[in-house]
Every structure is written in C-alpha cells, then in structure tokens.
Symmetry: C2
Subunit: 309 residues, 2 copies
C-alpha cells in the first residue's frame, strides 16, 4: 500500500464561463466538483495505475463529507482521513472558455486544533506500518505547525519507509533538513528553496540541504533529477497543449509508482513525464488519458549520467 | 404572514481577495456564506423589520442542507422549502479588496422534475391560505416552465392575495400578462420588458401590459412608481457609497412591508428607498444598517401626483 498525506484536503470545484470579466456577473455554464488536494490527486492517479493507496489527512464539515463521499467511488483508494470540527476548504477554478485560461480561488482551510494534530500524528504512525512508501503533499492548513512535515519525514525515516515530499516555502525548507528520500519541487519552489534559478545547480544544492534525491518539474521541459545513483533529464517527446492542472500531481504519482515497483531512475522518470503529459492532454482537468500515457511512456527522452560507484 | 417564493434558492458564498487578477491563483483571505436567492434575502429583511415570513421554493443536496440550517437561525422566518433530488446552486461573489468591486459567478441551479414542480404548486396553494401577501422572486431553475410565474400570479389572484413579482426576461414578460399587483424591475429589466429606456414612459407601458402597479429601481436615483393611485418618484437624501449587493431585495422588502401595513404609496416608497440605502451603507453585503434606516426613512424625498379619482 502507498500512503498519501493531504493535510489540507479540498473540494475542488471547476466553473466554466464563456468569458471571465472582472467586476461583472457570470452565468456559470458548467459545474464539476471532486475530492482535491495534492495527495488525493496523487492517490487517484496511483489507483488508476493499479496500486493500492490509502489517503490520510483531515476532513470536516459539509465539504469534508462531500470529499469523503467522492472517495467512496474510487476503486483502490482507502479513506483514512481524520475527522476535524472545522470545515474542509473549497477551491474554485474558473475556466474561461474563450481563452482556456484558469483563474483559481483557494480557501485557506479549517483551523486544526492541537488535539486534532496529535490524533493525526498517532494515526499516521499506525498507517506507516502497512506502507511501502509515503507521500507528503501540499500546503498546511492553519493551526498545523510549520515544522509539521519535518516531523512526519522523521517518523517515516524512523519506520524505514521511503518518503516523498511535495510542498513549498518554509514547510519545505524545514522538512528538507529532516532528510526526505525524494522531493519534487517545481522551478519556482526550487529557486525559493535554494536561491538559484539554474535547475541543475539548484537540484544539487537541494541535495546538500538534506534531500536524498531531487526531481524538479520544469513545465514543458520535463523533469531534471539529481540522485545518489546519477543525474538525468527526462523530456516529453513533443510540445503539448492542454490543461496543466494536476500535471505535477501526476508526476508525483509516477515517481511513487516507479519507486515501489523498484524501477531504475530512467524508467521512473519516463513514467512520471508520460503521466504528466497524459494529464495535460486529457480534456478533464486532473485526469490522465490512458492511451496517451501508454503511447508516450516509451517515447520520453531520458539523458544523463550514472554516478561513479 | 408574508410568503416569499424563491424557486432558485442559493448558498451565497463571498470571497475576499487582495486583488482579483484573471488567470492567476488567489489565496482567499475571507470566506462567508449564507442562505441566498432573492426571496430569502427579502425574507431576512422583512423578519428584521418584525414581520412573520414564510419562505418556500426548492432546496436539495448538500448545499440545500446548508441553506436550511442557515434559515433555522433566523427569528421570524419559517422554512417551507420543498425538498428536491437536485443540488441547490452556489453563487460565488469575489470582492476585490483593492477596488471594492465584486465579480459574480452564479451556478445555474438543479433541474426540477415535473413531479417536484407539481408538489411545489400544491404546497404554494396551501401556503397562500395563510398569507397577507406573496412575493415571487428571482430566476427560474432548469426544468421549471417559463410560464411558471404567470401561473403562480393567477393562483394568488384567484385566492385574493396581493402578489409582488421581481424577475426578468421572458418569465417577467409572461407573468405581467397575468396581471400581478406589483412588479419591481430595475432599469435594464424594465427596458427589456417595454423596449423603452425612458423610465416614466416605460413604467406606464408596463402597466398597460398588465401590472397593476410598477415600481422601478433606478440605482442611485431611487424609485419611480406608476400606480392606479398616482405617480411618484422617491429619492435618497444623498449620494451613497457602499456595496449595492441586496439593495434591490431590500427595496422589495420595503414595498411588501408598506403593503401589508396598508401605508399610502409615498410612505411605502420612502420605506423601500431607506431600506435600500441602509443596505448599501452596511459593511456586510446584503444586511441593512438599522440606525441608518431609521435616520434615512424620514429624509427620503417623495414627489409626485395623485390620480384624479
């Protein structure tokens, strides 16, 4: 079982409008909603690849109930979310049908009490016992200490479970020092962590700060990886046009999938890039196009060098 | 008891953002939500004025439950909403804190089945028996026939209950022909109904089309009324700055309040203008400032002429 942690789960709502005009009134022509937050998105992709996944984090209130109801419908996903008294946040993505661009509005999330945070930590330790790998994903809701991920990384390492971290800002900086197995920053997050806008240099620098391996997502240019086993660059076969929503989460799912399947890095990176590309190509935001994935995975260009033993 | 009908109830969500930038990601700094839809807003103001109000219309799904929970907390408001299998819509108002401007996103609402529409019509007839007046407010959800309000006007008239109508477009055009006692279009709705952009002419024209009385809301210029008893113009004492959300619904509440209190038209119009102004002056969208209302109601300028008997 792969465990994904989403401390700030969300009900993701997507609105389609003919054209978004600030300060005007809009009739929404399409409404979709589904469970969200990075770890839940990662779980959905992993389950679609055939992995057993358990999701944990927090859920509460009316929107929390809708999120949990939505998880019921996902084969291969086990709901181990911790109930809280606050209300799970909504995110609203407004898609302008004229341009295809998306405007996002993210609620901050419920305030987590110290007792709820303690209950989570206890449940997390129990869940780790049955996990092949764990992913810690996304932002922290109010009330959760900024060092939360650092503590969760240490707990996973003490249990001998490989831990992937996908977050940003100060929570990332602190958790990197706790020596996670893998981090997957995007270009901005990596630059914020290291102060360098040069990805090859920055991935090496992030390793020196504590991450065992670093896979940075560089948008259309694919992934760049710095690991103890070597350094690689993985690039999609063609420039893709589509909706990038969820592409980063699909890349995380690809990395976890390769990790638990004990693939060598080049194959793992190819899986992550192909899943990311197949997510951009899918008409539904955050879903991936399975046929595109299967066609692309053999065509990802991976170049690099293996470390001297 | 005053009955208000809201066929397309809503959960009104307000987001505050530091500045709205299309195609960007925003962290929402403030979230408020409350029961909405014009008839529910009118009921809230009527109850605050001391009237007993019953609200009917449709509510369903998770958001319908939140709307009904919210109504529980309103003293003087009785919930007689009809349950439906669809989900009550949300509206999202995004307030740009830099400019104070609001961008609105309105979901279309649940599809109402023929059986649900029949159940509503039956309940409506029963509720009319105990009503002093009825207000039919807002848009029609999908599935409700475009002639719905025309039928509801006829039922109220057959029962001898005064009926106020506040809607727009084709549902307004059809219902006017059914001879409602009072309609309250804004300038755009009145122009769409009559083809005239000259409010004095257009209010007279709307009367010829079937409305017994017409009170048009002209934004900062107040109200203009054409009735069998005479014609008036009611103007707020000063140019107001604030949030116009709900000002029209407060005007409807003032008109209903004056109607059931059997006030002469000039006092009724003054009440409607003062409530509308006190809503603009309130910091909370859709609420009215009671002290401002009490101070303003004696200072509304009403000019006009009584009809020859």
């Amino acid at each position: 079982m792969i465990l994904t942690v989403t401390l700030n789960t969300a009900l993701d709502i997507t609105y389609r409008v003919p054209a978004l005009r600030p300060h005007a009134e809009h009739r929404v022509t399409g409404v979709t909603e589904r469970p969200g937050g990075k770890g839940l998105n990662v779980a959905r992709v992993l389950a679609a690849l055939g992995h057993e996944v358990t999701v944990t984090g927090f859920a509460g209130g009316t929107t929390g109930r809708v999120v949990r109801d939505g998880l019921q419908g996902l084969t291969g996903v086990t709901d181990a979310l911790i109930p809280v008294t606050g209300t799970t946040r909504r995110t609203v993505a407004v898609v302008d049908e004229r341009t295809g661009d998306t405007t996002r509005l993210n609620e901050p999330g419920p305030v987590i009490t110290p007792a709820e945070w303690s209950a989570f930590q206890e449940a997390y330790e129990g869940l780790l016992a049955g996990a092949q790998a764990v992913a810690l994903c996304g932002s922290l809701p109010p009330g959760v200490p900024v060092g939360a991920y650092a503590g969760l990384v240490r707990t996973a390492r003490a249990a001998g479970i490989p831990v992937l971290l996908d977050t940003s800002g100060e929570p990332l900086r602190r958790a990197v020092a706790a020596r996670p197995d893998l981090i997957k920053p995007n270009a901005d997050e990596l630059a914020e962590l290291t102060g360098s806008h040069e990805p090859l240099r920055a991935t090496q620098d992030a390793r020196r700060r504590g991450a065992r391996s670093v896979v940075a997502s560089l948008g259309p240019e694919g992934l760049v990886a710095a690991t103890p086993e070597g350094r690689w660059r993985a690039t999609p076969p063609a420039r893709l046009s589509g909706n990038p929503t969820g592409a980063g989460d699909s890349a995380v799912a690809g990395l976890l999938s390769g990790l638990v399947d004990r693939l060598p890095w080049p194959q793992t990176l190819a899986r992550a890039v192909a899943l990311s590309a197949a997510t951009i190509l899918s008409p539904a935001a955050g879903e991936f196009d399975r046929a595109a994935y299967e066609e692309l995975v053999g065509r990802v260009a991976v170049t690099g060098e293996v470390s001297a033993a």
